[in-house]
């Protein structure tokens, strides 16, 4: 905005500078014309009666010309003044040119002022000086400069004020839209711009923004309704099967197997719905509360520690206290649980599993490392996709949803997930944004 104002001011100043130069040139040309007219007049007198005629002409001219406006001087070959308004030939003034030609002209600086004119010897050694004062020119130009200065100052002030006003109006309206976008990004899908005003482009933009948000909100609601409906429509018949299973007698093993399969099925679609739910809520503030990540990590570690011990693993935790974040407790517990569960599942007796929580700049870094077999090469690229399982792990139970859920939960909390390479085993770092101090 300032650049535009500066540009306009520069342009105006350039125009005025051009005007100034044209004026200066015109004034100088005018002075030169007056001088040329004088010289033409003198030339005519000289032609008729030579030096005496010229002497009379100069006397007459000097008499009618206001003092300081022009210099006239005619001398004889001894340096005696014949006519003119100068007492003596100015010191150091050189002579150039022929007869009464207006050129070459030269600047003559006298204590009384600045003049421009011709100085030369007429035939027979009669020095002639005729010059016009530059005072009117310099005076006019000085006035003009003053005017230009004031106009420029006024113009700059005007441009700045106008620019600021326009900028404030434009920036203000853009700010409205930006504020709205921020609120939406924070998860408030119901945020709207109040009374979209005007029929200009900004009004249209605001109307479009509101319409777009209406659409997003409707889609979001439909998605939520859809997952609720999926859950309801699938679980209700599954529930009937389960209740009917309970009435079957004498085939306990088959019934137990069917129950286990059903539980597995439900776990899969719960995980899928959890993943898409966490993804849909990504970056949204609502539902997140201040939490002590250290406590949750410690609790879940404590839940898994005996399991690791029983399996002959060396489990250790180094958790920095009171790492506060904005989060959903159950989701975070599930994330830590999935990581520990995986580590314990894939490690062999003698391996080590460690959970650490450290503070790194504006993030709390939760990392889980083990000395197990590590992530198989065949799924390194797709390990966070749903249903990714390595050929190596066909024998181990699971559906390849654990890490997909870990990533979805991390993303929902604005946490960054990285996999630092380690010599042995698997390591994952999750950097959580710190709770902003209120």
């Amino acid at each position: 905005m300032l650049i535009v104002a500066a540009g306009i001011i520069t342009l105006s100043l350039s125009a005025m500078a051009l005007q100034y130069r044209i004026t200066a040139q015109a004034l100088e040309a005018r002075q030169a014309e007056v001088l040329a007219a004088d010289l033409t007049g003198f030339a005519q007198f000289y032609e008729q009666r030579r030096i005496p005629g010229l002497r009379e002409a100069i006397e007459a001219r000097a008499a009618v010309t206001p003092p300081d406006a022009a210099l006239y001087l005619l001398q004889d070959r001894n340096g005696t003044t014949l006519a003119g308004n100068l007492p003596a030939w100015p010191e150091g003034l050189t002579k150039a040119g022929e007869m009464f030609a207006p050129l070459p002209a030269q600047d003559i600086n006298l204590p009384g002022g600045q003049y421009r004119g011709v100085a030369r010897d007429l035939p027979g050694g009669f020095p002639l000086l005729a010059a016009r004062s530059q005072a009117p020119v310099t005076q006019t130009l000085a006035d003009l400069r003053g005017t230009i200065l004031w106009v420029a100052a006024g113009l700059s002030a005007l441009a700045l004020v106008a620019g600021w006003l326009v900028a404030r109006a434009v920036v203000g309206r853009i700010h409205r839209v930006n504020t709205l976008a921020d609120r939406v990004a924070e998860g408030d899908l119901s945020a709207r711009l109040p009374d979209p005003r005007g029929s200009d482009e900004f009004g249209a933009l605001e109307t479009h923004f509101n319409a777009m948000l209406d659409r997003i909100e409707a889609l979001n609601r439909a998605t939520h309704r859809l997952s609720d409906n999926i859950a309801h429509e699938l679980r209700t018949p599954l529930n009937r099967i389960r209740q009917r299973l309970d009435r079957i007698e004498g085939q306990d093993e088959a019934v137990a197997a069917i129950r286990a399969d059903m539980a597995g099925t439900i776990r899969i679609f719960d995980s899928l719905l959890d993943i898409s739910g966490a993804e849909a809520a990504s970056g949204q503030r609502p539902g997140l509360v201040p939490l002590n990540l250290s406590e949750i990590a410690a609790e879940v570690f404590e839940l898994y520690e005996p399991l690791a011990e029983d399996k002959g693993l060396a489990a250790s935790a180094a958790i920095a206290p009171d790492a506060m974040i904005l989060g959903e407790r159950n989701l975070i517990a599930q994330l830590v649980s999935n990581l520990l569960d995986n580590a314990i599942k894939y490690c062999a007796p003698g391996d080590a599993v460690s959970l650490t929580l450290t503070v790194d700049g504006d993030r709390h870094v939760l990392s889980l490392a083990d000395t197990g077999p590590g992530m198989p090469e065949d799924i390194r690229a797709t390990m966070f996709d749903r249903f990714t399982r390595s050929a190596r792990d066909r024998e181990t139970s699971g559906h390849g949803l654990g890490l997909a859920l870990v990533q979805a939960i991390a993303t929902r909390h604005g946490a960054k997930l990285t996999l630092p390479s380690s010599d042995k085993g698997f390591r994952i770092d999750i950097a959580w944004p710190k709770l902003p101090r209120s």
Partner: protein
């Protein structure tokens, strides 16, 4: 503990689920009253005295969760168990936050349902029984000091193990499911892939058995555990 007059209201539109719920209620020697819609359920809750109300969620006419506040506002002291196909962790947490006393996801096991109903019926009885000392013969649990003693011998337990034994003690003699333990002792509302709870119960069980000389926590196969220090040593 319960009398045949103890009434439990069931608000459930799916007939098979309603039958299963009613059967479980009868197993507990209580009277089931079944309603099929949100409005009827709400009306019934205001008309009679119920110990427990089992509410479905996606009912014709409304969501059972929204009924809880209305039932409470009407002065009912009934405990509310939500049984719903909306069974994800986030749904459960939402339900508990909105005042449900317990939340069970469909499909449910009959045993799990009975365990939950029993726990609620007991909670009704136990509300005042909040002393410092819980005693089962030689076994003593001091809730303020958070210590466990058998025949005056101190048994070292971790803080979590203490919470575990306290929860068991409050439900002594009844089956407690793994899911109930995970929810009440660990405050976790998801299903871990591994049975982590078993390991913790196993450790506590060994400690208590060593000190008492006989099993204190018994396994109810496929369902959960029963804490019963005075049970015969048959197992």
């Amino acid at each position: 503990m319960t009398t045949p007059q103890t009434r439990i209201l069931i608000v459930e539109d799916d007939p098979v689920a309603a039958d299963a719920l009613a059967a479980a209620v009868r197993d507990l020697d209580c009277d089931p009253v079944v309603m099929r819609s949100y409005e009827d359920g709400l009306k019934a809750a205001g008309l009679a005295e119920f110990r427990v109300i089992v509410f479905d969620r996606m009912l014709p006419g409304g969501d059972g969760i929204d009924a809880i506040a209305k039932i409470r506002a009407a002065g009912s002291s009934a405990l509310v168990l939500v049984v719903s196909a909306l069974g994800r962790a986030s749904n459960k947490i939402e339900g508990l936050e909105k005042g449900a006393d317990d939340y069970l996801a469909k499909p449910f096991d009959a045993e799990e349902l009975r365990a939950r109903l029993r726990a609620l019926l007991r909670r009704h009885d136990m509300a005042v029984l909040d002393n410092d000392l819980i005693t089962f013969g030689p076994l003593q649990i001091r809730t303020k000091a958070r210590t466990v003693h058998v025949r005056n011998q101190h048994i070292p337990v971790s803080p979590k193990e203490f919470e575990l034994i306290t929860y068991f003690a409050r439900n002594a003699g009844e089956t407690v499911t793994r899911m109930q333990l995970l929810e009440n002792v660990w405050n976790l509302h998801f299903d871990p892939q591994t049975n982590v709870v078993d390991v913790h119960v196993g450790r506590l069980r060994r400690k208590l058995e060593q000190a008492a000389g006989h099993p204190v926590i018994h396994t109810d196969r496929g369902v959960g555990y029963v804490f019963d220090p005075q049970k015969d040593h048959a197992e």
